[in-house]
């Protein structure tokens, strides 16, 4: 296998960051923080298969410390035991049963609420439910207002006190470029369009719902992405789940990353194609599946697969990792398969000009067959798009369910997207958009570097604005959310089933709207809470870094 270290070293000399000025990147290697800047020659073996990459690709998934894993299981053990006790008490009417149960006349039917997930919801999730679904009552910008709520029966019901917690620093919204605003050009343009067109369209695109705004949006998005044609949909989730069935069907093969979003999973299942899963961002695993698919063909009949479609995401929202796109494209070309790239989180948030992961790696958008993305995140609007060759889009326009049956997008939303995309492209005559992209990149670097210095375990790529901070223990999920809210910082905490059961985490999403002061305050509070809850699990600062081989996500590693 080719391991050109020189290519990476050359890349080290170029401006490497995601559009931000390259101060201090030499100190980051393999995601570790080093005390002294190393000479550039040390950067070599970051990038495996480095010839394909134009920039260093630093991604780290520090393994769970053994003691922490054991203690996490102990915690789940305690909670499970008490869960059984409470279920027992509920069944024998010792305490009032507040959860959903079968009706009396259905007692002898197949049980509805006895699987593990129901048990988990009833007995574990319910205890820390106050950290989720908090209603907010302002625009979800850099700061947000939250409604105060209390529970008098241990989170079974909530009552609102009527007070509002003001000015919480919002570390949870996918507001990457800070376009979630209630002032500014986007809002003004959207308001104007609202007064011109109204809010609803009341028809689908193929009937009376095709506005000139939609056509304008699609042309603009195609130009933004650098593809021939694009199509916009009213819902990001449905873009995935309804378009994959239109593209592949029986006799086709889908190769899907194991951590793909639920919309991709649902779409793949609905399509009726055979689905095979490769390990997260593991190109060895993908290549093996591709090889097997081509050598063996369909099971039993041994006919060749009609189509092979690779499903990947740009940024994985729970891990904060960036897809190894150059390698995926190389494999796709080698094995003549198709590539479906979901840029839900990466569009706007990555790349020197905010054009997503393709731009980030400096690749050609033509190499990706289907470019999918959403407007819900970076653009502060709603909906999704698909971009690609003109034939593909024309086909989807006719056959995709979400094109045929869904109501078309609301004009003010469309206008918000148009204005924000133009802003990012610099077509509004300002450099505001460009500055936002750079600000996000700088915020990302700064926030990730500081968290690592503090000793937290942080997952993902150093350029990814999604920053998962590992919490592990179930009690710490609730405690972290509560303690941070007490300190006026809104965070998202994630546990099972969104993550593996022991890998609970808090997920910060950075935004260009965050100022340095806000980030510093947030970091100070995170540091404090981290000390209080003992979250600084990382042991990498103690290990001599130079001699450690690149582990965990190594390209050479072969399973089975």
């Amino acid at each position: 296998m080719e391991r050109p270290g020189r290519a990476a070293a050359v890349a080290g000399a170029q401006p490497r960051a995601n559009g931000c000025s390259g101060a201090g990147h030499g100190t980051l290697r393999n995601g570790y923080v080093r005390r002294f800047p190393a000479p550039d020659t040390q950067v070599d073996h970051i990038v495996h298969n480095g010839g394909l990459y134009k920039r260093p690709f630093n991604e780290a998934f520090e393994e769970t410390p053994m003691l922490v894993a054991v203690l996490t299981y102990v915690g789940y053990g305690v909670l499970t035991l008490f869960g059984y006790l409470r279920d027992f008490m509920r069944q024998w009417k010792i305490e009032k049963c507040q959860n959903a149960t079968e009706r009396e006349e259905q007692k002898d039917f197949v049980p509805l609420y006895q699987d593990f997930e129901n048990f988990y919801t009833r007995n574990l999730y319910m205890r820390i439910r106050d950290s989720w679904n908090r209603p907010i009552c302002s625009v979800p910008g850099a700061k947000v207002d939250m409604m105060e709520r209390v529970s008098h029966d241990y989170n079974w019901t909530f009552t609102y006190t009527g007070r509002v917690i003001k000015d919480i620093i919002n570390m949870g919204s996918y507001n990457y470029l800070g376009f979630a605003q209630n002032t500014g050009t986007c809002q003004e343009a959207a308001a104007k369009v609202l007064s011109q067109y109204g809010a609803g369209v009341c028809s689908s695109r193929q009937e009376m719902g095709n506005l000139d705004k939609h056509e304008e949006l699609e042309k603009l998005v195609a130009r933004f992405l650098g593809v021939e044609s694009a199509m916009a949909y009213g819902m990001g989730f449905a873009t995935n789940s309804m378009n994959i069935p239109a593209l592949v069907g029986k006799g086709c093969l889908i190769l899907s990353d194991e951590l793909n979003h639920a919309s991709l999973v649902l779409g793949a299942r609905l399509s009726g194609a055979t689905i095979r899963i490769f390990k997260h961002n593991n190109m060895q695993s993908l290549e093996k599946l591709l090889k097997d698919a081509i050598v063996h063909g369909q099971p039993r009949t041994r006919r060749p697969w009609k189509k092979i479609l690779i499903l990947v995401e740009g940024i994985y929202s729970m891990e904060g990792s960036i897809v190894r796109l150059p390698e995926v494209i190389a494999l796709k070309k080698k094995y003549k398969s198709y590539l479906y790239l979901d840029e839900a989180h990466s569009i706007g948030a990555l790349g020197p000009s905010g054009r997503g992961v393709v731009d980030y790696f400096g690749l050609n958008p033509e190499d990706v067959d289907i470019m999918m993305g959403t407007f819900t995140k970076s653009f502060g609007a709603a909906g999704g798009y698909i971009g690609g060759k003109k034939e593909l889009i024309d086909y989807l326009r006719t056959y995709s369910h979400s094109a045929v049956y869904a109501t078309s997008m609301s004009p003010p939303v469309v206008e918000q997207i148009i204005t924000s995309v133009k802003c990012i492209m610099g077509e509004d005559g300002t450099i505001v958009g460009k500055a936002r992209v750079q600000q996000l990149a700088e915020n990302t670097r700064y926030f990730r570097r500081r968290l690592k210095e503090m000793g937290f375990i942080i997952y993902g790529n150093e350029d990814s604005p999604v920053v998962p901070l590992m919490l592990y223990m179930p009690a710490k999920i609730g405690a972290f959310g509560r303690e941070m809210l007490k300190r006026n910082i809104g965070v998202v905490v994630v546990g099972f089933p969104a993550t593996p059961i022991i890998e609970s985490r808090a997920r910060f999403c950075l935004s260009a709207a965050h100022t340095k002061e806000m980030l510093d305050r947030a970091l100070k509070e995170i540091d404090e809470v981290g000390d209080l809850l003992q979250l600084k699990y990382s042991r990498h600062r103690l290990v001599p870094l130079l001699d450690r081989p690149f582990d965990e996500t190594t390209y050479e590693e072969t399973e089975d």
Partner: protein, 77 residues
């Protein structure tokens, strides 16, 4: 000042214990039940150790001293 420091430290330890055992998220009556069980188990372990460990150490000591140096004639035969 010193007492406050110690008190804070003990409270911090208690907080860590709550977090690690997940009794942090239990309801008060469950928490007291959990504490009771933990304390009971711990006390029994300590008591058992206090009662049995010295005896076992003494027996082991006798056994090994018998094996290695006590009666040389037994090793000869």
């Amino acid at each position: 000042m010193e007492i406050k420091h110690v008190k804070d430290y003990i409270y911090w330890l208690y907080y860590q214990y709550l977090l690690i055992t997940c009794s942090y998220v239990l309801e008060p009556w469950e928490r007291s039940m959990f504490h009771t069980i933990t304390v009971t188990v711990f006390a029994m372990v300590v008591y058992t150790a206090y009662v049995f460990v010295p005896i076992h150490i003494r027996l082991a000591f006798e056994f090994f001293s018998q094996l290695f140096g006590g009666q040389p004639e037994s090793t000869v035969s």
